[in-house]
């Protein structure tokens, strides 16, 4: 009877704890009134590590409790789409514009009044004002000081000068967003030609952007296509300086794509004024400056300082693209598979 006694006790303990906990969980489920807002539910595609301090700050200032659900932006967007009108989320904070576009396309966002996020330039706001950008995330090439020639355009990367020294992360959503922009701008055939060119030029594949930056630091490769903040992310992760710099293509080149993290208010939410208040908070001067100094992202405010050592958004000369058109990356993924990079 030894085993059944053990099992029995185990099960009894678990049962007791489980029933107790679920009863407690039931008690704690929110039950807000529409009049006085005490809680706000956020779906955040931005990771807790970076965004939580800002949320804590707003929570302290406004007195409104934040229930934050952290996850992957695209997965959260898919969840919101599935929840539809019944979504418990009030605000969706996404790490990229594509996810925002998907939710907007399903008409699940409220149209934001003009008074919200007045400081954000119109380029970084959805055409129908369903969402606003919060921070800028620039596509760059990270490079080692040993690199001889700097590319002027992404198209240069298929040339012999960059044979075998380039790294990309085809499974990464930022890379895929970039390729989507490329397809939208130049057409699928051109994109395919470029990708094939990379492949025959011996491009090295990495799973993650951070892997690319680490590889540059180690000397495995000399250049890689990543987002601008990774050199800080990697160096902070390793706890030391790394021998990697950010570089930009010439102004207007598609390689200088600037994606945004952004936020939108769910149409099903009854707490839009509180949510809009939070958006205003995130797009306020002070918080934007914090973004620059703490997470090294670009502030979207006109005239804001750029992250250390980098040109301002205006100076980069980003191509004009419709950020919302980046929402469907399945064509991109199919192309990458076709070419053999995925």
């Amino acid at each position: 009877m030894k085993i059944s006694a053990k099992v029995g006790k185990f099960a009894a303990v678990v049962l007791a704890v489980g029933v107790g906990a679920s009863l407690l969980a039931g008690c704690s489920s929110s039950n807000e009134q529409a009049t006085e807002v005490t809680e706000l539910t956020i779906y955040s595609g931005r990771s807790e590590e970076f965004i939580a301090p800002f949320f804590d700050q707003w929570q302290a200032e406004s007195g409104i409790k934040l229930n934050i659900r952290y996850g992957d932006s695209a997965e959260l967007a898919a969840q919101i789409l599935e929840e539809g009108k019944n979504s418990p989320a009030d605000l969706f904070l996404s790490q990229d514009a594509g996810s925002l576009g998907a939710v907007a396309a399903a008409e699940l966002f409220t149209t934001l009044p003009d008074e919200v996020a007045t400081s954000i330039p119109a380029t970084y706001i959805a055409a129908k004002r369903q969402w606003v950008g919060v921070t800028g995330r620039a596509r760059v090439f990270a490079y080692s000081p040993t690199l001889k020639t700097l590319p002027q355009s992404v198209t240069d990367l298929t040339s012999p000068a960059f044979k075998g020294i380039l790294g990309i992360a085809p499974s990464n959503s930022s890379f895929q967003a970039f390729v989507t922009a490329l397809i939208n701008a130049e057409g699928e055939a051109a994109a395919e030609k470029w990708l094939k060119g990379l492949k025959s030029n011996g491009v090295k594949i990495y799973a993650k952007n951070s892997g690319i930056v680490e590889a540059i630091d180690k000397g495995e490769i000399q250049i890689g296509l990543v987002n601008h903040y990774y050199i800080w992310e990697v160096s902070e992760g390793l706890g030391r300086e790394i021998k990697v710099k950010n570089g930009f293509f010439r102004a207007g080149d598609i390689g200088n794509l600037i994606n945004v993290s952004g936020a939108g208010v769910l149409a099903s939410s009854k707490k839009y004024s509180a949510a809009e208040d939070l958006i205003n908070f995130l797009t306020s001067q002070k918080v934007q400056e914090d973004f620059v100094s703490k997470t090294h992202e670009y502030s979207l405010l006109a005239g804001a300082t750029s992250p250390a050592g980098l040109p301002t958004l205006l100076e980069i000369g980003a191509p004009t693209i419709d950020l919302e058109a980046l929402k469907n990356i399945s064509v991109t993924q199919d192309l990458l598979v076709k070419v053999g990079l995925l």
Binding site: I3, V7, L15, G18, S22, A74, A106, A207, G239, S330
Partner: protein, 538 residues
């Protein structure tokens, strides 16, 4: 005192005995309810899939990419199942029959990998071999993580082998290999195939390992479709392929298991006299075991521990413990619900092999191949409509029970079947109604096996990720979600304490699963009971 029956007005046959008693109807109703629950994800998929017009569905099904993914998934399943079935059987048989030092304890490291979630496993191996990627890498990882299923299943079969037959075969001059194939294998065939089934269904539903290794299986395809194109219809269509694939796999397994009715199981004599002492056997088995343990236990633990020690940040113990508590609570609740849901079907299955019972069991098995993302979204779809229930611990526990119901049903059914019919007959003759027989005889004897099934569900639920991410109450973190959230921003050192704690906690049920079952109540086989029912006495 016995009641007198008034024969002057005999009741019609439908009244007593021959007709359906209210108890039978209640059982059928309960089973139907469980089946309905199990069908929720499949129904969701069907609804979503058919939102697409039919020609588009066909185009999606037969385009090159889909066929390629199906092919890849099939090959992956075949390779992992074939390899693990063969090597797992060799390992289990070796541990059981070859004289090894600390033999009784060798089983523990062999099945310890069960405690490690596949994504943690893959992360640790990626730390060792950063360029690990692709189909063969995925096969490698999946082989390592699912080997314990094969070993455990075979071991359970071996413990019930009629060792008397082995001795007879020896006296007849059969060599060891011959004895294995002609005496042992037929007796454990059922168990081996059960292990193979579990492995195959798992490989089909795994997401963690394959996605990290850039191998697109059907599950990865489904996930990609949700994230890349937000095309839930397309994803649902692919998920239907997954269901079809698992249905085929299940039918194949039934074929293989086939008509091998296990012979009457006599009391097993002690294996001590049969232990093989030949050096070559001992070295082979030890070598195999060492290689496996090195790859599947030592390597991951080494990485986890060195990451843990290399962690510059102080550990936030309150987060750690609350995550651990949440994990244990919701997984335990899930195991309990799975147990309760499995009871009606297991009762039906143990009484008769009627069409209803078999059909219900098949549906449950097929759902077992569904990945967490599908079950998660199905319950998001349904649950979001019921705000009191949505994103509560209860709903998440329910999701776990749906995900892993098959495991509970399998062990509950087996445990109930193992209760000898003759004991139930005697109890009835002593005046116990069928309810009393169930509670005073069947249940106490079947409880250890049922408990083990619940343990397995508990263990698997602890490691679950995608459905947990979607359905957990906002603000609740489990060990799995914390690992994910650190790993997604490359903070592996900070993820390590959570990973280690998860593995340590999961090691407890894993250890309990490795203990031998009770043997006393296993003298008679259900088939033997059926033969008795036909009136043949021994």
């Amino acid at each position: 005192m016995p009641t007198k029956i008034d024969v002057s007005s005999p009741r019609t046959p439908a009244a007593i005995g021959k007709g359906r008693s209210w108890r039978e109807i209640a059982l059928l109703a309960a089973t139907a309810l469980v089946v309905i629950f199990t069908l929720i994800p499949i129904t969701y998929l069907a609804i979503r899939a058919f939102e697409k017009p039919l020609p588009e569905i066909f185009q999606l099904l037969f385009r090159d990419k889909t066929l390629e993914v199906v092919g890849r998934t099939t090959f992956l399943v075949l390779i992992v199942v074939a390899f693990n079935t063969i090597v797992g059987t060799i390992l289990a048989t070796g541990i059981f029959f070859v004289k090894l030092p600390f033999a009784r304890y060798l089983i523990i490291p062999a099945i310890l990998p069960l405690a490690i979630p596949s994504y943690v496993f893959t992360y640790t191996w990626l730390a060792i071999v950063p360029s690990l990627s692709g189909f063969f890498a995925a096969s490698f990882i999946l082989i390592l993580t699912t080997m314990p299923y094969a070993v455990l299943a075979t071991l359970i079969g071996l413990r019930r082998v009629d060792t008397g037959l082995i001795e007879v075969a020896q006296t007849l001059g059969l060599g060891r290999v011959q004895i294995f194939f002609r005496v042992i294998f037929p007796q454990i065939r059922l168990n081996i195939s059960a292990g193979a089934l579990l492995i195959g269904l798992y490989v089909m539903s795994d997401f963690g390992a394959v996605s990290l290794l850039n191998t697109e299986t059907l599950t990865v395809s489904i996930q990609n479709m949700y994230k890349a194109s937000y095309d839930r219809s397309a994803a649902a269509v692919i998920a239907m392929i997954l269901i079809l694939a698992s249905a085929i796999f299940i039918l194949l397994e039934e074929r293989f298991k086939g008509s091998s009715k296990s012979s009457a199981i006599a009391k097993s004599y002690s294996v001590k006299t049969l232990l093989i002492e030949k050096i070559s056997y001992r070295t082979t088995i030890l070598a195999l075991l060492t290689i496996y343990v090195a790859l599947a236990v030592f390597a991951p633990f080494y990485v986890l521990i060195s990451r843990f020690l290399g962690n510059p940040e102080p550990i936030e113990f309150s987060n750690l413990f609350s995550a651990a508590l949440s994990t244990i609570t919701v997984s335990g609740l899930g195991a309990l619900i799975a147990l309760l849901l499995s009871i009606p079907i297991s009762i039906m299955n143990s009484k008769s092999e009627g069409a209803v019972a078999r059909g219900a069991e098949r549906i449950i098995l097929i759902s077992h191949a569904l990945p967490g993302v599908v079950i998660g979204l199905a319950l998001v779809s349904l649950g979001s409509k019921i705000s009191a229930l949505y994103q509560t611990t209860l709903l998440l526990a329910f999701a776990y029970s749906l995900l892993f119901l098959a495991k509970s049903v399998a062990s509950t059914t087996a445990s109930l079947k193992q209760v000898p019919t003759v004991l139930k007959d005697v109890a009835a003759s002593l005046g116990k109604s069928s309810f009393r027989v169930a509670t005073q005889v069947t249940l106490p004897l079947a409880l250890p096996g049922i408990g083990l099934g619940a343990l397995l569900v508990f263990l698997t639920a602890m490691k679950e990720l995608p459905a947990t991410l979607m359905l957990r109450p906002t603000g609740m973190e489990t060990l799995a979600t914390q690992i994910w959230s650190f790993a997604s921003i490359n903070r592996f050192n900070e993820a390590a304490p959570y990973a280690l704690l998860l593995v340590l906690i999961a090691a407890v049920p894993t250890f309990l699963l490795s203990l031998p079952e009770r043997l006393e109540s296993q003298d008679r086989d259900t088939d033997q009971n059926r033969i008795r029912d036909l009136g043949e006495s021994r």
